[in-house]
Amino acid sequence: MKKSWIATLAVFLVMIPLTIYLGSKIPGRSYYLTGTFIIVWLLIPFFMKFEGKRPQARELIMIAVMCALAVAGRVAIPVNHFKAAYAVIIISGIALGPETGFIVGAVTALVSNFFYGQGAYMPWQMMAYGAGGMAAGFAFAKGKLPKKPLPMALFSFLSVILLIGPILDVCNTFLGMPEVTASTLAASFASGFPVNAIQAATTAVLVFFLGRPLLDKLERAKLKYGVGEV
């Protein structure tokens, strides 16, 4: 607990400024490198928090099931553009809280890279998916948004189109655009928008149908076996 706070401070006060400073000194094009390193530093405190909690076997396996479900889920839905990953991550965030939601998202991104292979986007995907799970956890924490199909579907639509998608578009800007300015960022967002919109819509549909049943199943598992934050 305490260690992860120290790590967070170290990341924000030392590592990020240092990376930006060194990045500006590099002879050559350093956007992608600097950006990716910053993303990697930002991921560290989350994982340290997870390590610090010393998760018990049941909790750990439950998280693993949600990650595997997010990676393998696309096989269960043989429809184009329907990627189960976002839906499962968002529902995990809602059911298991922001911290676990982040871990589910980040690990899903990491593992699907081993199975489907994309590479250069990996740290960014970990951050984007993790952020999606975490945002869902915060938005649906006790006493906030109601855990009903329509609000959950709307929330997932917005979080894919405004949070997860744009983070990946920023990576595209850093990787393939001549320079990182407002206009090239806007262009990346614009070119990514159709894909993001389709994925947001399909995710919303999935969450609408799947959200409540899957939540109930998770709640039941939590209640029956006493896992996680009941």
Partner: protein, 294 residues
């Protein structure tokens, strides 16, 4: 290809090599360095992926063209105007600059493609098992669960088809049916997970400090390779800071000359990047020699 000599080295050597290759590849814009990067990453990619690499190359070529052609749209500097687009000049200089960015992109993607083949899941967990034990066991568990879940998902889908569900033509029906199949998969896996968790607890998970085991020993060869990689990388960095990789595209093209000491920098870079390829080819040759000796 299962016989890759570089993949058999200690994961730390693989890791350091790829991090360096990707960092250098993402930064250097000097044409000679770009050429070295594309040739070495492309060769190694082909050695690792065989015929499958043609498809990836075509996809990368498409992305290369896209990134090259998009740059002049934003970047209007340069004197040689090719034509006007939306009443803004589309210049040759910006196009060349775009091509260099696209090449850097291609190199990064190719190295990551090789990384995916070499840095397998158990190598990552071997490297980070000591530092992040909970994350490592989570990763190992997920790696094991995914293929099993894919099989289960296929079973569920075909079982649903045989009772007349999920084959509908209407998109909304199919999406709904997919959600049901996913729900069934979740129930099945969640129930099973608790048994797994209890079984882990019964075997003493979480009772003490987690130890880690690795099949990879750090041998003398790995040490020598690590020193070689580090020395070459240090040389490349030193030359880069002396300006050997300097490349300016706009407003006027200037590339650092490759004569004299700068040639040594490029040579170090080439040797560094070609290390896995050379190791792979050497192994193939010695393998064939010993096979023909039988």
């Amino acid at each position: 290809m299962t016989h890759d000599a570089f993949s058999k080295c200690h994961p730390s050597v693989n890791f350091v090599f790829f991090i360096l290759a990707i960092c250098f590849g993402a930064v250097f814009q000097h044409p000679a360095y770009i050429a070295a990067g594309i040739v070495s990453s492309g060769t190694y990619y082909v050695l690792l992926n065989g015929k499958k690499s043609i498809k990836s190359f075509l996809r990368l070529l498409l992305l290369f063209c896209f990134i090259s052609f998009i740059n002049p749209v934003f970047n209007t500097r340069g004197d040689t105007v090719l034509f006007k687009l939306f009443s803004r000049p589309y210049t040759l200089e910006a196009l060349i600059y775009g091509a260099s960015i696209a090449s850097v992109f291609v190199i990064t993607m190719l190295w990551f493609g090789c990384w995916n083949k070499v840095m397998t899941g158990e190598k990552i967990t071997c490297l980070f098992g000591g530092v992040a034990p909970a994350l490592s066991i989570l990763l190992v568990t997920v790696f094991r669960m995914v293929p099993e879940m894919i099989r289960t998902a296929k079973r569920i889908v075909s079982a649903r088809l045989s009772i007349g569900k999920g084959g509908a033509e209407k998109l909304s029906e199919r999406a709904r049916s997919g959600a049901s199949a996913l729900g069934a998969l979740a129930s099945l896996s969640l129930e099973g997970s608790v048994t797994t968790g209890d079984s882990m607890r019964a075997r003493g998970y979480g009772t003490g400090k987690r130890t880690s085991f690795s099949v990879y020993g750090f041998r003398r060869r790995d040490g020598a390779l690590m020193i070689l990689v580090a020395a070459l990388a240090a040389a490349v960095i030193a030359f880069a800071f002396r300006g050997a990789t300097r490349a300016v595209f706009l407003p006027e093209r200037y590339f650092a000359p490759l004569s004299g000491a700068n040639a040594a920098g490029l040579a170090a870079y080439c040797i560094l990047l070609l290390t896995p390829t050379v190791m792979h080819i050497r192994e193939v040759i010695s393998w064939n020699i010993s096979k023909s000796a039988i």
